[in-house]
């Protein structure tokens, strides 16, 4: 099924103005300053010291500070009580959250739950759910993947059957951010007997009502859980979009583009932190009477890391722009960004650890907190391998 590129999607030629305006710069700088103060590695380490599911990120001082700063309202439309900022602004903040390894419900609530509610829900429904989010009154998350670890909606196998006034769910979800603690969970399931992108629907479950098991994960700053959906009932007013609604696949796809781009931004932020630390180490650490960063064997590799980072960041901003302007290339751009972010972490994690030498291999040094978050972020919402393949599909080069 090799068809050649779609002319519109394969169009590279767009002028882009990548200049941040003053508000955007201030937002990024204030996010960075706030996170540096409120989320130092000592705070991050608490996630590593607690067992799976033991910490409720909602009760952390960090999240309460974020609520006080109105972060939950950032991109919620003004008509729903939010600040109505765009996806570019959200991307800048998420990149900073990734840089600080911030363990908080912020990413799942703002980049996964809120976009799905906005895209899939009716306006009054979305209004009600998002208003509470904007007020800091509830957190949310999104359950797409299952134990197979895929985020393509086509691979969803969880079933929704009509039952009485609502729907009855069956199946399991996995790799759900904050799955044991989120107040609201948007769940993607399909009508019985449907396959592919047909028959998909989205349901909102109340978190405490869902049997959830925290996964033991390499990176506890992004806590993940498995959900058991068997026998859960969803009343009609909690259905965002019904299985069989022809608009469902598109709505789910659009929400996933936002979540995927945000993961790419977060991962790029994490890689930026690893790179900065490694670069500084190469300047400070002396052997043979000079800084190891003066050796060409390290210099050239540091340049390649820098290039991978800038490549990833550029594509993340491009994807953010296509989403914020609702450009037709947003699916392609989101996959390019996540693929590039994955390629970036691959190089930066490897070289970051190698260049730190023995000290980076110790639990005491903070480096491993970042390495684990970067690895975990590559897998979540689709690895670079998965997204390169999806770029190939969008170019008409693969089935």
């Amino acid at each position: 099924m090799v068809g050649g590129p779609d002319a519109g999607l394969a169009d590279l030629e767009t002028d882009m103005d990548f200049e941040l305006n003053q508000d955007q710069e201030e937002l990024r700088d204030s996010a960075r300053t706030f996170l540096a103060e409120s989320c130092p590695p000592a705070v991050v380490r608490r996630s590593f010291e607690a067992g799976p599911g033991e910490l409720d990120p909602r009760s952390s001082g960090l999240w309460q500070e974020m609520v006080r700063l109105d972060w939950p309202a950032l991109t919620i439309p003004e008509s729903f009580g939010g600040m109505g900022l765009g996806f570019v602004e959200l991307t800048l903040v998420v990149e900073e959250a990734g840089r600080a390894l911030a363990p908080s419900p912020f990413v799942a609530t703002l980049t996964q739950f809120a976009p799905m509610v906005r895209e899939a829900g009716a306006s009054d429904q979305a209004g009600e759910l998002l208003q509470t989010v904007a007020e800091g009154g509830s957190t949310g998350t999104l359950a797409v993947a299952e134990p197979s670890g895929r985020w393509e909606p086509e691979s969803v196998t969880a079933i929704a059957r009509p039952a009485g006034r609502g729907w009855l769910l069956a199946g399991r979800k996995s790799f759900v951010f904050d799955g044991t603690t989120a107040d609201e969970i948007a769940v993607v399931a399909r009508g019985e007997g449907t396959t592919g992108s047909d028959g998909l629907g989205v349901f909102v479950l109340s978190g405490p009502a869902v049997p959830a098991r925290a996964l033991r994960v390499a990176d506890p700053t992004q806590p993940l859980a498995e959900l058991d959906l068997d026998g859960l009932e969803v009343p009609r007013e909690r259905v965002l979009i019904e299985p069989g609604d022809p608009r469902a696949s598109r709505a789910i796809g659009r929400a996933l583009q936002e979540a995927t781009t945000a993961m790419a931004a977060s991962s790029t932020g994490t890689c930026g932190a690893i790179f900065d630390t490694t670069l500084q180490y190469a300047k400070d650490r002396e052997q043979y009477g000079r800084p190891i960063g003066s050796f060409q064997a390290l210099k050239h590799r540091l340049v390649d890391m820098y290039l991978a980072l800038e490549r990833s960041r550029s594509l993340v901003y491009f994807a953010a722009l296509t989403i914020s302007e609702d450009d037709e290339r947003r699916a392609m751009a989101a996959s390019m960004a996540k693929a590039a972010a994955g390629e970036c972490q691959r190089l930066i994690v490897k070289e970051g650890l190698q260049m730190h030498g023995g000290i980076g291999f110790t639990w005491e040094h903070d480096l491993h907190l970042y390495l684990k978050r970067a690895k975990s972020s590559d897998f979540l919402f689709g690895s670079s391998l998965a997204h390169r393949a999806s770029v190939a599909r969008l170019l008409g080069l693969a089935a």
């Binding site: 090799v2 068809g3 050649g4 590129p5 394969a10 590279l12 030629e13 767009t14 002028d15 882009m16 103005d17 990548f18 200049e19 941040l20 305006n21 955007q24 570019v88 670069l279 190469a282 300047k283 000079r290 800084p291 960063g293 003066s294 050796f295 060409q296 210099k299 050239h300 540091l302 340049v303 390649d304 820098y306 290039l307 800038e310 490549r311 960041r313 550029s314 594509l315 901003y317 491009f318 953010a320 722009l321 296509t322 914020s324 302007e325 450009d327 390019m336 693929a339 590039a340 391998l385 390169r388 393949a389 770029v391 190939a392 170019l395 008409g396 080069l397 693969a398």
Partner: protein, 402 residues
Amino acid sequence: MRLAFEAPVEAFRRELAAWLRDNRPTPSEMKAEPALSTGHAPGWAKRWTRRMFDAGWLVPGWPPELGGRNAAPTEQLVYLEEMARAGVARTTNPQGLGIIAPSILDYGSPEQIASYAVPLLRGEITGCLGMSEPGAGSDLAGLTTRAVLDGDRFVINGQKVWTSGANHADFCFLFCRTDPDAPKHKGISVILVDMDTPGVNVRPLPDIVDPEYPELNEVFLSDVLVPAGNLVGTANSGWAMANGSLAHERGMVWVTSVIELENATKRLLGEAPGMLERLPIGERAEAATMLAGLFIDAQAVRCLGYRGFGNLLHGGSAPEQALMKLFSSEARQRLALVAAELQGAEAIQGDEKFGAILPLSTSDPSPWLDQYFRSFGLTISAGSSEIQRNIIAEKVLGLPRA
């Protein structure tokens, strides 16, 4: 951040496009008389450069008397994009227009501007850049070509190599050593040397791809006598010029390499379905993924360039020229390699040749294997990839010198 520029720039773009439609050289005109090297300007190229100069479209950022129209930075960017898209270069002598003329304008005397820079801009003469020597490649400051002042003239002896277009150029912007006792960076000057001066001998060095159309040359200089007035700027200020001249049009030269990469990507994507069809099923997924990676690179190069440009407009530093050069040349090389590999048996059989590299054609129609070999011209010349990595490591990342 946004996905397009402001409306006035779009008006500028339309004006240029309309002018190009009515004034550009025709493909048949270009084909009938191909440029033989980057030092050669065929009749149509001379007329074309002159037409652009007169209309203020040659270097839009400059004032009208120098072939421009005082265009703003965003307009200059749009200009380079449209030119590359149209597949029309401004000149067949890019080193003359892009490096030599601006350097003479910056550092040269009024006489040098009148008799070299302006005629070059009007398409009347071409220039070559005498930098590398057999013993001074990446270590340019180690050059030994010697110029000794003898009364009112210099006596020059030495040898240059890899001099692009020296086999056809009218004059050379020659880097030579004028103070052998100073530290090596501080004893270099630039002298303008007419290529027909007695004692200048050019030996072409055919390359591995198009040996019948040599572009690179050795230039031998023995007891070449040049008027003292041909010294550019002050004596021993050549190193600053080497850095300054190579940085000309900084912040924008990347546009051309971006669009060349995009054009090559488009050509490859057009051929890709056929390439994939010929592969066994088991090899297709990997091939498709490799192609996707190239597409991602092309988009990333563009985004990276525009981000740097945004910083420039914002009063920040110019896009890191070294980073753009490194990334785009290596991406171009990867693309040609993957294309040749996917082409398989066909790639090693191609005997179809397209003659001289037309600097006017930005979508290279030559075989992928040829393009792969030719791409080393990008990763070796004008500061090899290794030198670019050194520059980025030291100037951008602040790593200590070895």
